[in-house]
């Protein structure tokens, strides 16, 4: 209970305070890390650093690993063809063996995208500090955790000390009042917010998403929102835990044994009444339409019923230059109607949108339809367990009958490190999180959308307003 001696605090401030190991004026705070997620691409050099310095992993039990970024999504019984990729995946396995770290290997049904399996297995819990050498670690903030991406030097630091040196960020409240309109999803909500605050609006802040529209979101939808916090520049985004959170986690493999006591502790976490954020911005859910990015960063986004902007629509010289360069890369001139944009590829997957609810939303659109003849569409479940669940519900048959490619779990064409990639000039509707130049393959053109919008675009061959879908 806040008192004069204990002033009201935000969710972030409570988590920060709870994890201070050592704080001293003029130096960075040593912050304790409760859960460290590890994957193959950003960890090898960190483990090598430990070996060179003859340091152990301090808390193997608080470290969990899986390979996700650089793995094939085709038949797992076949050998990995790319020898450099294979070496990276083998290196993770060997490092986990050497340092006694739990590792969900490619043949384990619980393998998957690290930000999908953490919550799914109950590793991710309210009140935790969670880090990973991946910027989309912000996903876990959906549970009321302080979760953020780190570099490889910091991965080594956490492995060696179970702590991080941190500068306290400021707090930014993004409040969304009211109710989302039909057809408008969490993905549209977060793209809309990034469009408003821009890709560096959150730099230096930890975001807390609040308001009726956020509270109404399912746990998986909350993960979609927090996942993209980094695309607005914020390293971390969080949502206060509530009954939705507690119900989602109940019964999962690694949640605390005395679950009810844990829930009682977690109930103390939400931001106190009258606590102050460093900055607050308010939005109306009813203003949000389905969103489609048109440019080469996630902030370059419009509503599906809008037209692609022209450089002259911007007043600032740098923004005009950015828009002109983005249009050129995207093969657009500005002024096109979004719904006239024709597509070559559709990708439904990634740590943003590859959970069971995302696949259900896509299947609801795809059921009984066929993918357009000029579109190649693939679905990559976020984890082996998501894949199993989808198959138990018959979603795989819906997708296959419609002409979608049904794959094994991994990051796949979100970053196209593995063989799943766009060819130069190919245009893709993608449920992933980044539309940077070359992100999905050199010369590839990415438009970010929700799973339902992606599925509808696959069938129509161009973007459609999902609100008009029959």
């Amino acid at each position: 209970m806040p008192t004069a001696a204990n002033p009201p605090r935000t969710l972030f401030e409570k988590l920060w305070d709870n994890h201070i190991v050592y704080a001293e004026e003029g130096r960075q705070t040593i912050l304790y890390i409760d859960l460290h997620l590890v994957h193959e691409v950003t960890s090898a050099q960190a483990f090598e650093g430990l070996r060179l310095a003859n340091r152990p992993v301090r808390c193997p039990a608080k470290t969990v690993a899986t390979a996700d970024h650089n793995i094939p999504t085709t038949d797992r019984s076949l050998p990995i063809v790319d020898v450099i990729s294979k070496l990276q995946i083998d290196t993770l396995r060997n490092n986990c063996q050497q340092f006694d770290i739990t590792h969900y290997d490619l043949n384990d049904p619980r393998q998957g995208i690290v930000h999908v399996i953490g919550p799914e297995l109950g590793y991710t819990q309210p009140g935790m500090t969670i880090v990973c050498g991946d910027s989309h670690t912000s996903t876990h903030g959906a549970f009321g955790a302080l979760a953020f991406g780190i570099g490889t030097s910091e991965v080594e630091h956490v492995l060696a000390t179970q702590t991080l040196l941190q500068v306290k960020p400021q707090t930014l409240e993004l409040r969304v009042d009211g109710t989302l309109r039909p057809g408008v999803t969490a993905k549209d909500l977060v793209l809309y917010l990034i469009g408003k605050i821009t890709t560096d609006g959150g730099t230096g802040y930890c975001v807390e998403y609040t308001g009726e529209a956020i509270r109404a979101l399912s746990m998986e939808n909350r993960m979609t929102v927090c996942n993209m916090s980094i695309e607005g520049g914020a390293r971390a985004g969080m949502i206060a835990p509530d009954e939705t959170t507690f119900e989602y986690l109940r019964g999962r493999q690694f949640v605390p044994k005395d679950y009810e006591s844990a829930v009682e502790r977690w109930r103390q976490l939400p931001t106190d009444d009258n606590a102050k954020y460093d900055k607050s911005l308010k939005f109306q859910a009813a203003d949000i339409a389905p969103q489609v990015t048109w440019g080469t960063n996630p902030g370059l986004v419009v509503s599906v019923n809008d037209c692609v902007p022209k450089p002259s629509d911007y007043s600032d010289a740098t923004e005009q230059k950015t828009a002109a360069s983005a249009l050129e890369y995207m093969g657009l001139t500005g002024g096109e109607r979004i719904t006239d944009i024709q597509l070559d590829r559709v990708f439904i997957g990634s740590c943003t949108n590859a959970r069971i609810e995302d696949l259900r939303a896509a299947a609801d659109i795809a059921r009984g339809h066929k993918v357009s003849e000029h579109v190649q569409a693939m679905i990559v479940p976020g984890s082996g367990l998501v894949k199993q669940q989808a198959e138990a519900e018959g979603l795989d048959r819906v997708f296959k009958e419609a002409g979608f490619d049904w794959r094994e779990a991994g990051c796949s064409m979100c970053l196209a490190m593995n063989p799943d990639k766009l060819s130069p000039g190919e245009r893709c509707a993608s449920t992933s999180n980044r539309n940077f130049e070359g992100r999905q393959g050199k010369g590839g053109r990415t438009h970010l959308v929700s799973p339902a919008m992606a599925a509808a675009a696959a069938i129509a061959g161009h973007f459609v307003d999902i609100r008009d879908w029959k």
Partner: protein
């Protein structure tokens, strides 16, 4: 960690905002398990033409950019992925100082871990530096981390801000892990207090 005290070097100007880490080091080079040798892949997709030959128009490939060690950039430099391969590639290429109106948080942090100095200046100041780089042939800047000043041979001298802790670590090339382990007793005490 490599120390940084003072550096004078040739400036290359990159007049693009929101340069993301996917551009700095594209994903196909993240498969390597080494920490070194990324410099030749820096800005690969921008530096190479479709046939794999060098694009002479790209900022870093122009003859006047040869040997540059100070990168002048626009806002939100280093956004996107947390990949430390981005600062590894910049450092391996030869950059020691990066100047921009703003940096993405993770990238900014990663620079310090690799002996590079990212300097934040106002938009106006960065505009002025772009103008100076265009005006003077072989334009050089000197970054002095001891007194936090940036200067040139044309009477420019501006101060920049660096958090004292980072300044001290970089000046002395201190090992973060070693520093933290000086407080290992406090980590142990924290764990004991929270292991219920």
């Amino acid at each position: 960690m490599k120390a940084f005290t003072k550096h004078t070097g040739l400036v290359v100007a990159m007049d693009r905002a929101n340069v993301d880490t996917d551009q700095i080091i594209p994903k196909q080079f993240l498969k390597r398990i080494e920490r070194t040798g990324f410099g030749e892949f820096l800005f690969w997709d921008w530096a190479k033409l479709d046939d794999g030959s060098t694009d002479p128009e790209f900022e870093l490939n122009r003859p006047e950019a040869a040997g540059a060690s100070v990168l002048l950039a626009r806002r939100n430099f280093g956004c996107g992925s947390s990949r430390e391969h981005a600062p590894w590639a910049l450092e391996d290429y030869g950059f020691r100082v990066i100047i921009a109106p703003s940096f993405a948080d993770i990238f900014y942090n990663n620079c310090f871990k690799n002996g590079m100095l990212p300097i934040r200046l106002s938009e106006e100041m960065v505009d002025d530096l772009f103008a100076r780089a265009a005006q003077h042939d072989s334009y050089q800047l000197t970054a002095n981390l001891e007194d936090c000043t940036l200067s040139d041979a044309h009477s420019l001298s501006v101060s920049f801000e660096v958090e004292p802790f980072r300044q001290n670590c970089l000046l002395n090339g201190l090992d973060d892990i070693g520093l933290t382990l000086e407080h290992e007793d406090k980590i142990t005490a924290y764990e004991a207090a929270h292991s219920k």
